[in-house]
């Protein structure tokens, strides 16, 4: 009976994948139905794969995409839940969509939502669990960073055979786990960034931490003067930060020169995490470096969309730490460009928009944008925020609808480059709007 349910679940799931694919895709319905027919289906589907699970507050999608591409570059078959479907039904859907690879002993590089990882880690039985970072995210959803950390640690103990690849620069990951553990981080960030609203407290004794160097937020080379906790030994390290550019970063990781083709320190962390995971899976350093240098961005993560004669760079922003880093990256741009910010407050974005006051929009004063387009469901809140941050309100173009954003990009900006910061649903909705208007070849 159990076998019949399993087979039925896969068969119906695959049928639904085919049907929904015709209708445009982007749904987890096949996975939901499959799970209902056979609740253990995820374990069954995952068993044929070597699973790499990537979790954390920011960077899951980008890091997972990087790891997948590196593995493929090394000649392996690797699947990925590329549309950001990182809850249980999404994972099942991903396996159903890729069913033709199930007999090839392939890799499955999966981004998994932090809250769901403990529920699926045993079923997935990953060879590696990677954690990018843990930052304050949607306050109205999680309530506290500690809860996220506890959920992730629970996931580790549910899968004790999995090797952990962890961000060594994040104090709260400094623990001894039953799992085999490997750490990555920055040898020397060069700067001592004392801003940021992430807590810098010792996870052991609660004392304020001292930092020899800070990369950003609370990530860096830390130590506690009260209880002598210090950063663990790093197996994978950025030994040299050669150059940060507006469209890429150059660095040296474990003796290998690397160019990460997506800008920002936060993407360098993602590249470092991907490097560590790939190296642990036996991929040679030079192959990793080659892959990272040609990495294209995924769905809404620093994706470049051509609209008319404009190049719109879409950057997803979800929370203060990620948003501040995105802003720091945008201001590296030397050419005069325009700025667009779309702030939504749907469930996936965080319904409490006060987080925008914890992000460093003041840093935008270093940029001299041609125009500042402001849109999304909470556009006026964002306008007030940008006004408070010191931006020149005469440059603001308030766009109540996506058609107004499109019109402004095409007709009101004088320069070709537009940096578009958007919260999750704004990014999805604007892309859907552009797809319907014919500016995008594919939706997902």
């Amino acid at each position: 009976m159990a076998v019949i349910r399993k087979i039925l679940s896969v068969w119906i799931g695959r049928l639904l994948v085919w049907l929904t694919g015709i209708l445009g895709g982007g749904t987890n319905l096949p996975g939901e139905i499959s799970l209902r027919l056979c609740p253990q289906i995820l374990r069954y589907l995952a068993a044929n794969y070597r699973v790499v699970a990537v979790t954390g507050t920011n960077g899951k999608t980008t890091t997972a995409a990087m790891i997948q591409q590196i593995l493929k570059h090394n000649g392996h078959t690797a699947i990925n839940n590329s549309s950001g479907a990182n809850l249980k039904a999404g994972l099942v859907t991903c396996f159903l969509q890729n069913y033709r690879y199930s007999r090839k002993h392939a890799f499955a590089v999966l981004e998994v939502d932090e809250a769901y990882l403990p529920r699926v880690s045993a079923d997935l039985n990953p060879v590696i669990i990677a954690v990018t970072n843990i930052f304050r995210d949607q306050l109205d959803r999680f309530g506290a960073v500690e809860r996220t950390r506890d959920l992730i640690f629970q996931a580790f103990s549910n899968a004790p055979e999995s090797k952990l690849v962890l961000n060594g620069d994040l104090p709260m990951l400094n623990q001894s786990f039953e799992n085999e553990t490997v750490y990555y981080g920055f040898d020397d960030a060069g700067s001592c960034d004392s801003t940021g609203t992430e807590g810098r407290f010792c996870p052991e004794c609660g004392n304020t931490l001292t930092y020899n160097s800070v990369v950003y937020g609370n990530l860096g080379d830390y130590c506690c003067e009260q209880c002598s906790l210090k950063r663990p030994v790093l197996q994978y390290r950025v030994e040299k930060l050669t150059q940060l550019r507006a469209d890429a970063s150059d660095a040296v990781i474990n003796g290998q020169a690397v160019t990460v083709s997506q800008a920002g320190l936060y993407n360098l962390y993602n590249g470092l995490c991907a490097f560590a995971c790939a190296a642990e899976l036996g991929v040679p350093s030079d192959v990793i470096a080659e892959s990272l240098s040609v990495q294209e961005s995924r769905f809404g993560r620093q994706e470049i969309i051509g609209i008319g004669d404009k190049q719109v760079r879409v950057i997803l922003v979800k929370n203060p730490a990620g948003c501040s880093e995105a802003i720091k990256t945008v201001v590296l741009e030397q050419d005069t460009s325009s700025l667009a910010v779309l702030l939504n407050d749907r469930l996936g974005d965080g319904t409490d928009v006060s987080w925008i006051y914890d992000a460093d929009f003041e840093a935008l004063s270093k940029m001299n944008p041609d125009k500042v387009l402001v849109g999304g469901t909470r556009l006026y809140d964002m306008a007030i925020r940008l006004q408070t941050a010191g931006l020149n309100t005469e440059k603001f173009v308030l766009c109540e609808e996506y058609k107004d954003v499109l019109d402004a990009i095409l007709n009101k900006t004088a320069f070709p480059k537009v940096y578009l910061l958007a919260t999750y649903s704004a990014m999805v909705e604007f892309r859907r709007f552009l797809y319907k208007k014919g500016y995008l070849k594919k939706m997902w």
Partner: protein, 239 residues
């Protein structure tokens, strides 16, 4: 004219973007040509009442709030009491609001003393009050977001406003409280972002204490007004 702001322990109490209240006051003052000096009081630094025209106390995680309460009780109580008794202007949000009260009672029956500077009692509940919130204060409407598990019993004190949407102090129809120059509230948002009239009221009160009667030039509040119109239309759709 100069405005001297004290932000109490921003490194510890900095949840929910409440720091934005300070940013908004600074911006509105500067746009009128008023110099602003913000002192971010660090853990270990002492608070001196006469040095400030406006004080802000924000929200934080339970551990950080306890640490701040202990610190203020041990070292700064006298000066803070002096500040409040002399009608110093103070905005306290969320956990900061709770710290100023007389006591906080917990669901397990235990209780903790607050600073006792506000005659308000708080009760923590199993329920969490989360959501968009709208209150009316005379002619003005303030829109914010609440996220608290505490109820405030303000007794005979005047509230900050009447609840049009949300839970307020204790689901009794009112939110926040006013006492001397203090405003306590559960509204994040930050509160002052879409309440330019309240922000200006606080600016005038803060500066008047030092400079005598003060008038402020009118600022362009278009974004704030449009924000209110748009959100009120969304929360209370008219047929």
């Amino acid at each position: 004219m100069e405005l001297r702001i004290c932000h109490l322990y921003p490194q510890l109490l900095n949840l929910n973007g409440d720091y934005g209240n300070v940013a908004i006051l600074c911006d509105r003052a500067k746009r009128r040509g008023i110099d602003v000096k913000v002192t971010a009081l660090a853990y270990g630094q002492r608070f001196i009442a006469k040095d400030y025209d406006f004080v802000f106390l924000g929200n934080g995680q339970p551990d950080e709030l306890s640490a701040v309460l202990a610190e203020l009780t041990a070292y700064d109580f006298e000066e803070l009491k002096k500040y409040v008794d002399e009608n110093g202007v103070l905005l306290a949000v969320g956990g900061g609001y709770e710290l100023l009260g007389e006591e906080i009672r917990f669901p397990d029956g235990t209780q903790k003393d607050g600073l006792g500077l506000l005659p308000v009692r708080f009760e923590k509940t199993e329920k969490r009050f989360i959501g968009n919130a709208v209150i009316r204060d005379g002619d003005h409407v303030y829109i914010g977001f609440e996220n608290h598990d505490g109820r405030a019993e303000i007794g005979a004190l005047p509230p900050l406003g009447e609840v049009l949407l949300g839970f307020g102090n204790d689901e009794g129809g009112y939110e926040g409280c006013r006492y001397n120059g203090v405003i306590g509230t559960y509204l994040h948002g930050p509160l002052l972002a879409k309440a330019p009239e309240l922000a200006d009221e606080l600016l005038i009160a803060s500066l008047s204490k030092r400079y005598g009667s003060v008038t402020l030039s009118q600022l362009d509040n278009t974004f704030e007004q449009r924000a209110r119109e748009q959100l009120l239309q969304r929360f209370f759709p008219t047929e």
